[in-house]
Amino acid sequence: MNRIKRGWKKISEIDELMLIVALVVIIIIMSLMSEYFFTGKNLMNVLRQSSTTLIAATGMTLLLLVGEVDLSIGSLAAFSAVIMVDVMNMTQAILPAVLVAIGIGVGVGLFNAFVVTKFNIASLIVTLGVMTSVRGFAYIYTNAIAIQNTVDGFTVIGNGYVGPIPIPVIIAAVLFVLCYFLLKYTTFGRYIYASGDNKNAALASGINVNKIKTITFVLCSVFAVISGIILTARVNSGQPNLAQGFEFTVIAAVILGGTSLSGGQGTLIGTLVGVLILGVLDNGLVLNDVSSFWQDVVRGAVIILAVIIDTRRTQKREKISRRLVEQGAVSQ
């Protein structure tokens, strides 16, 4: 590995370590502030509630790594959820409904990828438009009335356990581990990093960047739909106003975890820690009966901090690259 990459890796590792330390510190503080925090039941709740964020954040990490973003995940979660509950009521079966929802996720993901790659429009703008219109479709479809679920057993997806472990945690863990292996140990994973790091170099090396982007857009959308299914199972109804603001929580967690907004840099472990930090903060603040307004302040501060760290990280990398080039250690 050349010196630049080694230098960058060192920064990432230090940052990752700092993140884990930050998480541990927050956990210690929360444990001291409330006797209920460090209990088995509460920790399971934190994990359960973080699962939906983690699933979507895993997909979002892959997408951010190729240098794109998807703001539509909250709206998509709601839209696919209301259709899913309707189908579930009609068929009185869970599986076909889930498949329909995932199909919608694939469709929207393909649409996002198509518009971004074919017309070369920034994904921020495209997915912003999709976010607005898909939410609108959710309201149109339901006439703003939540669809009550009539099929028994559905809530198990959101509230059930396998042994001591909540089912959403298991789903999140499986998806996370799969993507971790995908990213670290497959060619596809390397292509993801390459496409986001330097698109032209990747293209020159024969990587079909558009194909990589399409696949990651679809993964991001499908993972968002899965999060939506779990959230819907917890409220047992198809809510058109589901997951409002979800995209910002997810993106904040991913950036906090070290993934760069400009692509090419980031790890899933970082995302996991970022998700846990936000999850622990949210949970701890409610346990301690802190006003929700302060919760908003804390969240906003964490997000700003994350962006500052991200910018500083990018600047550090550029400085190291420049220095190494100047020293003649690496040819331009």
Binding site: N42, N45, Y139, N143, A144, I145, V235, Q239, N241, S292
Partner: protein, 358 residues
């Protein structure tokens, strides 16, 4: 490539045309311009009323619109509805469009009390009466609203009475929305009413559910962890109350020992829970959105005809439970329809002052 772009643009254009024709009214039967609905009213004129609302994306407002449409149809008035969707500048332009179309009266659910004033000025200059709903302004022809504190108060009293009858010492989880003043009023009213009837009742914790069900479930879950002795949930709307109760259920609590008293009964879900004897949702403050819609239209028509209208009216509120909900609503397949005779008997209260927030 260019051909593709061209086709794409045409498709988008086509979709937006279709969307626009449906966007202005949730159902187009009663919009101006569709034939057959402009029947003369008593004095030989078809009254044209325009309603610009703030946020159609809620069942509550869908029901207000339902009540408005039924009233307009009964009287042969023409009703046009547009949704500002939380955008104050859009609300003003939609209002200006309606004024340009010479509506006889305007009904507005203001996005923002100060921001909407330019529209009110224009309406005044054009001699068009303005009825406001939910948000009182410094000036309007008539303000139609509910008394949030009073509603919370009678709901709290009902909760207290239920607790006394069933030997429960309420330990309450409030799922509120503290960013909205009206929701704060509802909670304050509830606390006052509850503690008057049942002094041992304790408000254990208040959380911010944001008015939506999924957020309510999440924050209620955490609150229940820290306060496992909670046995009553109060929410500022249906989603908040039902979300809180879902959190109790998911936490493995014995639901026969948990009760929910909420504010709103805005839609189908809440009414279904009320009539279900196994449900923990025991009482809800009914806002009768259909009646709010009806009164808005009636006041608008009166004002347009030059009759006198009160400065403000307070619409009826009733605490509904399993026994009396069928007095005011009847089930019609999957939905619930309002029984106009019984609700109209509740009447409304005219007021001669309007309280506005500074």
């Amino acid at each position: 490539m260019k051909k593709l772009v061209g086709i794409f643009l045409v498709v988008i254009f086509g979709i937006s045309l279709i969307a626009c024709s449906q966007a202005a009214t949730p159902a187009t039967e009663t919009s101006t311009g569709s034939a057959g609905t402009e029947v003369s009213s008593g004095n030989g004129e078809a009254l044209r009323i325009g309603y610009i609302e703030n946020f159609a994306s809620h069942e509550f407002y869908q029901n207000i619109i339902k009540g408005m449409k039924q009233t307009a149809e009964e009287n042969g008035w023409s009703l046009e509805i547009a949704d500002a969707n939380g955008d104050i500048s859009k609300q003003i332009s939609l209002g200006e469009n309606m004024l340009a179309k010479d509506v006889d009266a305007l009904i507005v659910t203001p996005v923002d009390a100060k921001g909407v004033m330019p529209l009110i000025e224009q309406a005044e200059a054009a001699g068009v009466p303005v009825i406001t709903e939910a948000v009182p302004l410094e000036k309007q022809t008539c303000y139609v609203g509910i008394d949030d504190f009073y509603g919370g108060y009678i709901d709290g009293q009902a909760a207290g009475e239920y607790a006394n009858e069933n030997n429960i010492v309420p330990k309450v989880l409030v799922v509120g929305a503290p960013a909205l003043e009206v929701c704060v009023q509802r909670v304050e009213g509830f606390k006052t009413g509850l503690q008057e009837v049942c002094p041992e009742a304790e408000i254990v914790v208040e959380v911010d559910g944001g008015g939506t069900k999924d957020t309510a479930v999440a924050v209620a879950t955490d609150a229940l962890t820290a306060n496992p002795d909670i046995n009553m949930v109060m929410g500022i709307n249906d989603d908040s109350t039902l979300g809180g109760l879902l959190a109790c259920e998911a936490a493995g609590m014995d639901m026969s020992q948990v009760t929910g008293f909420g504010f709103g009964v805005e839609g189908i879900a809440a009414k279904n829970e009320l009539v279900n004897p196994d449900s923990s949702y025991k009482g809800g403050l009914g806002m009768f959105p259909e009646m709010i819609g009806r009164l808005c239209v009636e006041m608008a028509a009166k004002a347009a005809n030059g009759e006198e209208v009160p400065v403000a009216i307070t619409t009826p509120l009733v605490v509904m439970n399993g026994e009396n909900v069928t007095e005011y609503y009847e089930q019609d397949g999957d939905s619930w329809e309002i029984k106009w005779e019984s609700v109209e008997e509740l009447g409304y209260t005219p007021r001669d002052t309007v309280e506005i927030q500074k």
